[in-house]
Subunit: 338 residues, 2 copies
């Protein structure tokens, strides 16, 4: 019988459809086209003139901006979904309808000079650089009083919406708190009012106690399959200690986060034959003073299924993989690999 599970943070329901359940390895993609070198990729070293001027780059001493020699390079998006960074929001109400200017920012974080190596296969120091770039650019946009939330994402693979194969992340600086973050915040606030504790910390404690949905952990971070996973092989990466804000990570956290992220993505790649995925960071909104309620984390949603008329019209996801089975499968892959 299908099982309905309620997310402990948002209180939203998902259907775990055991009737449609596949075995974990049935989710592995049948074929895979590895990334191919391209001559005209604007994100490759040597093609810096094909992008707007860089706003940040970690580069070899003595190399000039917008020339090769960088490890991570950040440029404005050519077709920004938000921007410019300042001006008049011009919030307007016209009868029933309300609008405002989409001020903010939208940047591309080119996470490697290599066209074909991504987070799962790059040297760990390169992933550390990417994480530092996330934080640097986050802090820069946080300083803008118009910005209410900074959303950092990675789309990997064309089927997950990546328009370019070259490894890159994106940063969106938004003049409002997005609905899904607001829903998590409300849930966390409700839990805090009722129990006096952080719901994310409580979830983590519960998961570490039971262990059946844990995928991997290191000294500072845990990766687990959420109880109410919305899609097959959903993973959350969360700091073990109560940390409201992504951007306040220290150097040790940066390394531990980068290592956990790399390991999680390598498990997906090796266990499921390199599936497309989306990940994003949820953290306390930039202008919000509350620090005891929210707990930052990164959500990874592999693109192994897709939302159709049921999911789009109800908001209820139907997940055809049991989270416990998905986690056990990835744990086993990890045991074989190490």
């Amino acid at each position: 019988m299908p099982e309905l599970r309620r997310d402990p943070i948002t209180h939203e329901w998902v259907v775990i459809s055991t009737e449609r359940a596949k075995r974990p390895h049935d989710f592995a993609r049948q074929s895979r086209t590895p990334a191919q070198q391209e001559t005209n990729c604007p994100f490759c070293a040597g093609n810096e003139s094909k992008t707007p001027p860089e706003v940040l780059a970690y580069r070899v001493d003595g190399t000039a901006p917008d020339t090769p020699g960088w490890l991570v390079r950040v440029v404005p998006n050519l077709y920004p979904a938000f921007g410019p960074a300042s001006g008049d929001l011009a919030a307007q109400k016209d009868g029933l309808y309300q609008s405002m200017n989409g001020l903010g920012g939208h940047e591309v974080i080119i996470t490697s000079p290599s066209h074909t190596e991504d987070i799962a296969s790059l040297p760990l120091e390169q992933v550390d650089c990417m994480t530092r770039a996330y934080i640097d650019r986050y802090l820069s946009h946080k300083a803008n009083p118009i910005v209410q939330f900074v959303h950092i994402i990675q789309n990997y693979g064309r089927d997950a919406g990546a328009s370019r194969e070259h490894p890159h992340s994106q940063l969106f600086a938004i003049p409002l708190v997005p609905e899904l973050v607001a829903t998590e915040l409300e849930g966390a606030q409700r839990h805090h009012t009722e129990r006096g504790s952080c719901v994310f910390c409580d979830v983590l404690q519960e998961e570490l106690r039971g262990g059946e949905r844990i995928i991997l952990e290191n000294e500072r971070f845990v990766v687990f399959a959420p109880y109410a996973s919305r899609v097959p092989f959903e993973m959350w990466l969360m700091p073990k200690a109560h940390r409201p804000r992504f951007e306040t990570m220290g150097e040790h956290d940066v390394s531990a986060f980068s290592a956990a992220l790399q390991e999680a993505l390598a498990l997906l790649r090796n266990g499921l034959n390199d599936p497309p995925f989306n990940y994003w960071i949820h953290t306390t909104p930039t202008q919000m003073a509350v620090d005891d309620v929210y707990h930052w984390h990164l959500e990874i949603l592999p693109k192994l299924s897709f939302a159709a008329g049921f999911e789009l019209g109800t908001g209820i996801m139907i997940n055809s993989a049991l989270p416990e089975t998905a986690a056990a499968f990835l744990r086993e892959k990890r045991a074989i690999a190490t």
Copy 2:
């Protein structure tokens, strides 16, 4: 500059990204593979033994159940996302986590005996039959006290999640009110409390007054592009009079609804080269007594773009087509066709 628009019902924001805007005909698919006859399709007349026994069929007098002679045929889904229809919900709480059995129903409404003709091209009487089947099955599930909401959808095209090409709809009988319907209900309730009127009626009045987002209308129904359209060429089909419930439609409404739906889908097919789409019906939840707040409607979302890390992580959609431009384009296509 990108524009943020707020949905007048849910108060959720969308980004209308004029920077990325394409011209309407750029959304037309480049190529299209028309539906091909299949010999083993379980939904085709003659293959009735390949499905579970029918729960409803409109058929030629004298033909036996589960044999040819039907116009519309309804069968249980082989891999139901909800079901069985009765039993113990067994709602459980285990610490932070809550679950219940996915009781309810899940049916396939085979909307035509023809494998290759769909709503846009079928005789109108056939579409009327489909609408009547929607209502009949709706009423049947509504009578089940476990069911809180009946969700009727169509997924058209593989890229919109249709696992079979043969025209079919699906009905999900759900033991809870889905989140997205609850959000619309809350918004409608808020509006009703503030202004004493139905927000859907007010939207309709506003749209008919302005006219720039109207796509088509007949005596009883209007099809328009919502002000805060989430995707390019989103369309809503709504009764002009205040009608809280889909299932109480009279015969004249059935004909007018079927005609408006057919015309809307024919415009999509002819204007954009047969794109995939999802549609669903939002109506007052089955067990809810309130009749002055909500207004049923059908939402059509063409699948011309897709949600990635920004949309999935924030709940904010980025729409690269201006609703006014999309509506004008479809109005023009209609003027040429008629």
